[in-house]
């Protein structure tokens, strides 16, 4: 006997069991996880900027006493951890986590609970970092170098909290990355071979593999540090066979890899935006995809570029220089192909493209400045000066702020069904650009001309750096306002932005085939993927059919002589 068909259940008008926030917090849907990461990252961007502004107030005038030395070091440590672990990485991973499954035509992710655990670990890490305000934040710096972090030198539990928070966040990123890799490997739409995966999806794959490699390296280093601090370990302690330089190697592998990951994400985003807004295919997809993979590998192998003043052999220094300079080739090819994609197109200067162009500008300045840090003897002059602060901020603001905001403006309609306010986006863009130039160009001069050192809570009058620091402080205030405008714009546009429809930019990849915002299962139906531009294929096919039908109609309506 065949079972009787299930009656259609009508659920409209029934309120869900749990409130929306509880549903969101316990959801394993990649879109919910991605949105929480993105919102969290934007919130922490605000906090990181407040910390940066406080530090710049301290550095506004020579020998200022606005912050105490310990207070400055704590602010610096919090800023570093917040900017990297709570803003830049979660923003790029969050956007990737939201968009990539949609882009490849997946109805979810392969290991949704793993992703949810990843988010929970990241949130626990963030809580651990800021819970230190209840006792003692770390005061060991952005990349706290052993043995300063040993218990003998910093005995309070600030370092423990830093280790815990960055460890939990990194473990969370690794889990999210594993899920993304599994999803990309197993859940691509029919016909979507790797050669047809969108460039952003490819960037996600490369970045996720990179995180799976570098994340455990940092986790191992953090574990060793905890053993040193609490179980009389000697991994990084001098004497009894300990090696302080080991920390530098392990931590720089992670930080250098994370730096590359952010850039790979930014280039993936810019590639999508460039093709959509120029209405042209990527000039050479294969070369861009190969270059992104090369950046991941060669870039991470250049970790010792950060250790050129340490007592390591000259051979290793030359190896670091070789790897750093070798990056010119893949970076150059990516820039060439992105700009060539824009050339010849019909560029619609909307906010996503504006931010993407800003990203290309800032990244190019940052990476070119890093070039001077790659030449060994030149690095002996520039290392640990504020010139390196400026170069790093140019690159990372280019990648995470301009690149991240380009992605946010581009995919915001997909997430909410509305576009972000265009006027406010433009004001925000130019304010951020002004803030970046004012805030960090003077530091290039202070570093190269006067050798002002990094991470110092004060500088002295008569050292020739006062004017540079005044301008830099003003620039950071402007930067703060600019970034805040985008955050406010996102908050206001979520409910009140202009309605966008499902495909406001004429995108060519599958996420624009879904509703905006997408249903929980992403797609009801999927087209066969026959090229890297499936939506364009559909448009072209419809265009042909319409033309044929019009021609047929015209033929049929011809008067017979």
């Amino acid at each position: 006997m065949s079972p009787s068909p299930r009656p259609e259940l009508v659920a409209d008008g029934y309120s869900p069991k749990r409130p929306r926030w509880a549903q969101l917090a316990t959801s394993a849907d990649h879109k919910d996880v991605g949105r929480i990461l993105i919102c969290g990252a934007l919130g922490f961007a605000f906090i990181a900027l407040v910390e940066l502004v406080l530090m710049r107030i301290q550095l506004l005038v020579p020998e200022n006493t606005f912050l105490s030395p310990v207070g400055f070091n704590r602010m610096l440590s919090l800023y570093g951890a917040t900017a990297i672990f709570l803003f830049a990485l979660p923003l790029v991973i969050g956007i990737s986590y939201y968009v990539t499954p949609l882009q490849i035509g997946a109805r979810g992710t392969a290991l949704p609970r793993l992703g949810q655990i990843g988010l929970t670990l990241w949130a626990a890490g963030a809580t651990a970092l800021y819970a230190t305000f209840l006792f003692t934040p770390s005061e060991a710096g952005v990349n706290p170098l052993a043995p300063l972090t040993e218990k003998a030198f910093l005995s309070n539990n600030g370092v423990d909290a830093w280790v815990t928070s960055s460890g939990l966040a990194t473990l969370g990123f690794v889990f999210l990355a594993i899920n993304l890799i599994a999803t990309l490997k197993t859940m691509r739409a029919p016909g979507m071979a790797w050669r047809r995966v969108p460039v952003f999806g490819w960037a996600t794959a490369v970045g996720s593999w990179l995180m799976v490699v570098i994340g455990p390296v940092l986790l191992a280093a953090l574990t060793m540090l905890m053993i040193d601090r609490h179980y009389d370990g000697i991994f990084f302690a001098d004497g009894s066979g300990g090696a302080p330089l080991l920390w530098q190697h392990l931590s720089w592998i992670f930080y250098t890899g994370a730096y590359m990951l952010i850039l790979i994400f930014a280039f993936g985003t810019i590639a999508e935006i460039a093709t959509a807004f120029a209405r042209k295919p990527l000039f050479n997809r294969t070369v861009v995809m190969a270059s992104l993979a090369a950046i991941a590998v060669i870039g991470t192998l250049a970790w010792m570029q950060n250790m050129l003043t340490a007592p390591i052999g000259i051979g290793w220094m030359y190896f670091a220089m070789l790897m750093s300079l070798a990056l010119i080739v893949p970076f150059g090819l990516v820039f060439f192909n992105l700009i060539a994609t824009l050339a010849g197109g019909t560029l619609r200067m909307r906010a996503p493209l504006l931010f993407a162009l800003g990203a290309l500008f800032a990244i190019s300045v940052g990476l070119a400045s890093e070039l001077c840090h790659s030449l060994v003897a030149s690095a002996w002059h520039l290392k640990n000066t504020v010139d390196s602060t400026a170069a790093t901020h140019f690159t990372l603001i280019g990648g995470a702020v301009f690149g991240g905001f380009a992605a946010l403006h581009y995919w915001f309609p997909k997430m909410t069904g509305r576009t972000m306010g265009e006027l406010m986006a433009r004001i925000s863009f130019w304010t951020i650009m002004a803030g970046l130039l004012l805030g960090f160009v003077p530091l290039f001069f202070a570093g190269t001309e006067q050798g002002q050192v990094i991470d110092a809570y004060k500088y002295f009058a008569g050292t020739g750096v006062t004017a540079y620091n005044v301008i830099a402080s003003i620039g950071v205030f402007v930067l703060f306002v600019g970034i805040l405008l985008t955050i406010v714009n996102a908050m206001l546009s979520r409910e009140g932005g202009p309605e966008a429809g499902h495909d406001p930019w004429g995108g060519e990849t599958l996420e624009w085939f879904a509703l905006s915002p997408p249903e929980p299962h992403n797609f009801d139906v999927l087209p066969d993927v026959r090229s890297p531009r499936p939506l364009r294929d559909i448009r072209v096919a419809i265009g042909h059919r319409t033309r044929r039908s019009e021609q047929a109609t015209a033929r049929d309506s011809q008067p017979v002589a």
Partner: protein, 232 residues
Amino acid sequence: MASHSPGTDQIDTLFWIGFFAAAILIVVVVGALLYVVRRYRSERGAEPRQLLSGRRLQFRVAGVLTVFAALLFILGIVFTDNAREKPNTGEAGLASLKGEPLKIEATGQQWLWRYDYPNGAFSYYKLVVPVDTAVELELVSTDVVHTWNVEELARKADAVPGKTNKVLFSADEEGTYLGDSATLSGQAYAAMRTAVEVVSPDEYEEFVETQKEEIQAAQEKVVSQIENGETP
């Protein structure tokens, strides 16, 4: 940065090479971006030509970039090797060294630098060296990582606990050169400064002798106080 030692000349030159290479890259990228935005900005229009690049063009671009990177790599090695060359002691320098550099140990400790001279004398904060004399500074640390940084005389170098790092220089002019530490080493890091006083060989000899005598006198005073029961 004014250069007062042969090695820093090379560092300075390589920095400027890197600077101009970076400037070329920035100008090319920003120029191309500005051109493309001005030339192809358009609100609407027919779908543009769907241009794709062939392999040959990509290989050419990759080739140009490879040559650029290789050239910088070679220049980097040449100038770095020159900067690492042992300076010689000149005629105006300390004659008693007989071709060997003057070896001084520099110990970084939270938050000052201690300098130990060959005759057993030592000084804090201020390093005194003879002019036109090859000096080999052996950097060590007793606690955390510090970076010795006197830009006009020598390269930056880290003092890492358990390791010895070497810095070579030969000051060409008498005077005082200021420096600071360049790695966060705790709360008084910003105040961890140093000064290198470059003097004539005679003044140097006099300084280390006087310093040694004063230290010995101070030590003898402490010993006598202990013997007399004046110090617990």
